[in-house]
């Protein structure tokens, strides 16, 4: 091969590879490409879990760091007669149901929950959109509730069913729900909060009870929690991706 033809070959093959790469780049818009893009989510989750270990805590701030105003996001008020009635009764008739793959399904009233050992934490809420707000949350560690009902060996995820419908649909698929795995469910900062900044949780922030799972983004922090269902898979629920926003394209693992 002469220098000239070798050089031509190298230029040609490099250009060819570039064209192929660009074609592949265009194809990423297609479904196969979407699968490739999604592969990064698994990598992110594994890397973060490896670096965190089970117990690494989210930063806790001081009272002085609390945001002067905490943006209300998502639903501001569940639009159902059932919720309106519960609110009217100051949630005296509200019950948190815990069922699914548990040894002893139970219901808890708000008074029951407030009698249990509580945890208070001042943490940062990070919306997937990019903004952050710091608030003080008081509630019951989810892990202690799950221990009190006992999990069956096949339990893998906790699904939080909420009272709000973020999108009005005929089949109810617009109802808010979320799911977390047991590592996050038993994390010491994962609490079901009934108070924010020292007061009962406001309706805009998810009264009477919301989830705080502090190592993930805002959309995981389900508001208006009505029922916690322990499952071995969330594939059969609504869109099958484990949450309202997950069914609409967002990552199930929202650590970044």
């Amino acid at each position: 091969m002469t220098t000239l033809s070798r050089r031509r070959f190298m230029i040609g093959s490099t250009l060819g590879a570039t064209v192929a790469a660009l074609a592949g780049y265009g194809a990423l818009k297609q479904d196969a490409g979407a699968t490739v893009l999604r592969s990064a989510e698994q990598l992110t989750m594994r890397a973060q879990r490896l670096l965190q270990g089970r117990g690494a805590l989210a930063r806790e701030f001081s009272e002085a760091d609390i945001s002067p105003s905490f943006r209300v996001n998502g639903s501001t008020m569940p639009d159902s007669d059932e919720y309106a009635a519960l609110l009217d009764g100051k949630f005296a008739d509200w019950r948190l149901k815990i069922d699914g793959l548990v040894v002893q399904p139970r219901e808890f009233s708000l008074t029951d929950l407030k009698k249990l050992p509580a945890r208070t934490q001042i943490t940062r809420h990070d919306c997937v959109e990019g903004w952050s707000a710091i608030g003080k949350w008081t509630g019951v560690p989810l892990g202690s509730l799950l221990r009190s009902v006992g999990l069956k060996p096949s339990a893998r995820f906790a699904v939080l069913h909420c009272a709000d419908e973020l999108e009005k649909t005929l089949d109810g698929s617009g109802r808010y729900y979320e799911s977390i795995d047991l590592i996050d469910a038993f994390h010491p900062q994962t609490i079901l909060a009934y108070a924010m900044n020292g007061k009962d949780l406001a309706v805009g922030h998810g009264a009477p009870l919301r989830l705080r799972v502090e190592r993930q983004l805002g959309y995981k922090q389900a508001k208006y929690v009505m029922r916690i269902e322990i499952v071995d898979s969330f594939g059969g629920l609504w869109g099958g991706s484990g949450g309202y926003w997950e069914d609409r394209g967002y990552e199930w693992y929202a650590g970044i």
Binding site: T3, S39, A40, E41, A58, Q216, E251, I256
Partner: protein, 285 residues
């Protein structure tokens, strides 16, 4: 470095030789970097559009004082877009704040032609961003490893003795400003302005992008809380991420301009095939 005399078969005039300028690692990682940074920038603008305000500190949301806002408002004249920073508001209708999307004036910070995907779709933008962020980090790690092991950094990027003196730097700046580029033996190596610029990008801007990006992650913050102290909060990190990205865009603009001005074809060939033509020293042809 093996120099190769080129004979008559490639039709080059005598006195011009091709040297091996860039290693295969430099070339491959360079072009992967082009792909990654392009995807990261355009998907990053999509993500920015979801909340087009920047803040300093640990928190920041609507109602908190913003360092920079790209917004829109409606008044008698219709929709107008603006950029507001430090109390100064600049009208940017048509480009920032308000731009045309599918023929309609649409309220969005960065226009459709600058975002991946072009419509407002945060979920897809995030998937692109994090996929190419991983590729960028893996590519960068491969480049750094090779750069240290092969001696590329020490040999090609570290300034030589005397190159950092004020008088020499000033001389280099003046000759660059006159668009006079090194020739002959001098062209065998990066000049000192190139070295310093590449070092700032490789050791400064790019690691800064990764670190500020990671600081925005609540999961990473739990693993490495020191990141929050390093940058002074998630929102500060987000602002620095944006500023550093805009510095990288400026670097690329200057970089491409220099590539074109100092011999577009020769530079392009050297980054594709590795070979770069220089005039042999000695009597000029």
């Amino acid at each position: 470095m093996s120099d190769e005399k080129t004979g008559h078969e490639n039709g080059r005039q005598a006195g011009t030789i091709l040297i091996r300028r860039h290693s295969v690692v430099t070339r491959v990682t360079h072009w992967l970097n082009v792909l990654c940074l392009t995807a990261l920038l355009l998907s990053g603008l999509q993500i920015f559009n979801a909340h087009p305000e920047l803040y300093w500190g640990q928190y920041g949301a609507d109602g908190d004082p913003a360092f920079l806002t790209i917004g829109s408002a409606e008044d008698k004249g219709g929709l107008r877009g603006f950029v507001r920073a430090g109390g100064i508001e600049v009208p940017t209708t048509g480009f920032l704040g308000i731009s045309s999307f599918e023929g309609e004036p649409t309220a969005r910070a960065f226009p459709a032609w600058l975002t991946i995907p072009s419509d407002q779709d945060l979920a897809t933008g995030r998937r692109w961003h994090f996929f190419f962020a991983w590729l960028f980090v893996i590519n960068g790690a491969a480049y750094l490893r090779s750069g240290f092991l092969s001696g590329h950094f020490r040999r090609d990027l570290a300034p030589r003795r005397g190159q950092l003196s004020a008088s020499y730097l000033w001389h280099e700046i003046v000759t660059h400003a006159r668009l006079r580029f090194p020739e002959g033996e001098e062209a065998r190596h990066y000049n000192v302005l190139q070295k310093l610029t590449y070092l700032v990008v490789i050791a400064g801007f790019l690691p800064m992008m990764v670190l500020t990006g990671l600081t925005m992650s609540p999961g990473v913050d739990a693993a490495f809380p020191a990141l929050l102290d390093l940058f002074g909060g998630r929102q500060t990190a987000r602002t620095i991420h944006f500023i550093t990205a805009s510095l990288l865009v400026k670097f690329v603009l200057v970089h491409v301009a220099m590539v074109v001005l100092s011999g577009a074809w020769n530079n392009m060939r050297s980054m594709i095939t590795g070979r770069y033509a220089i005039r042999e020293s000695g009597p000029k042809a």
